[in-house]
């Protein structure tokens, strides 16, 4: 119908929010993404791992003033996947008049 498929890796609400945040910026710190998605460290770690395993997300650890910070960013494949996913969502939402506007 739309020619675009929803990506099951991205579609889960927490992972969708992670990708929405990371696709708008170059990098974001783990704690920022945790606060913005409203989940615990362990829950976020699991979702991050799933996105990482799919090749959509990169994790970078940096130490500053003896404190380790974890930075997250989308890979090129991740950026492509979220763009396609958003397009698929929009087309799907537009199939029923009055929905998705």
């Amino acid at each position: 119908m739309t020619g675009l498929q929803l990506d099951p890796v991205i579609h889960a609400p927490v992972r969708l929010q992670i990708c929405a945040i990371l696709s708008a910026t170059g990098e974001a710190e783990f704690s920022l993404v945790r606060d913005e998605t409203g989940v615990s460290d362990s829950v976020l770690s699991k979702h991050v791992k799933q996105l990482e395993d799919a090749g959509y997300l990169k994790v970078r650890k940096a130490t500053l003033a003896s404190r380790q910070r974890t930075w997250l960013s989308l890979t090129k494949a991740g950026t492509r996947a979220i763009t396609t996913h958003f397009l698929a969502l929009k087309r799907l939402a537009a199939t029923i008049p009055g929905v998705g506007e």
């Binding site: 929010q17 929405a20 170059g26 974001a28 920022l32 998605t37 969502l89 929009k90």
Partner: protein
């Protein structure tokens, strides 16, 4: 499956998609609200850029040290912003932000070149200082414009 059931399923799928887009938009809106640079960022950025150019007014043995100090200020500014915001963004990311960054870079090169020429013409140093002040204003305005453009791109980035 009857036609009525098929329609209901499609309507549910469309509503799910709409809900997912709303969720993504909400995340972007919160991010945009968080991405606001502190009030002092743009003036400090302008000061750093203008300072590099104005340092040409100083004697030759001091000018490189002053210019280096201003460059370090610019690097420190970005590092502080990253640390405070928890975000990282390239100045040359695609979209309006890239045009603004290129504009600032061109203004910087033009002001620096002009300051070099004027330094030889007016040994009292007023040439580089005037160029530095003008660049400081332009860079501060450019930095504020970049900040606004980035936040707009965050909000408009969803299809």
């Amino acid at each position: 499956m009857s036609e009525g059931e098929g329609d209901a399923e499609r309507a549910n799928a469309a509503r799910d998609a709409s809900d997912a887009l709303s969720l993504a938009r909400g995340a972007r809106e919160r991010l945009a609200a968080r991405a606001v640079a502190p009030w002092w960022y743009a003036p400090a950025y302008g000061l750093g850029c203008g300072g590099v150019v104005a340092s040409l007014a100083l004697p030759n043995d001091v000018a490189p040290i002053a210019a280096l100090g201003c460059l370090l200020l610019l690097i420190a500014l970005y590092a502080i912003w990253r640390r405070r915001s928890g975000l990282g963004a390239s100045g040359y990311r695609a979209g309006p932000t890239r045009r603004i960054s290129v504009g600032i870079a061109v203004a910087f090169l033009a002001a620096y070149t002009l300051a070099l020429l004027l330094r030889d013409r007016y040994p009292d140093g007023r040439g580089p200082i005037i160029c530095g002040v003008v660049l400081a204003l332009l860079a501060a305005l450019g930095s504020a414009a970049w900040d606004r453009a980035w936040r707009n791109a965050i909000l408009d980035g969803l299809p």
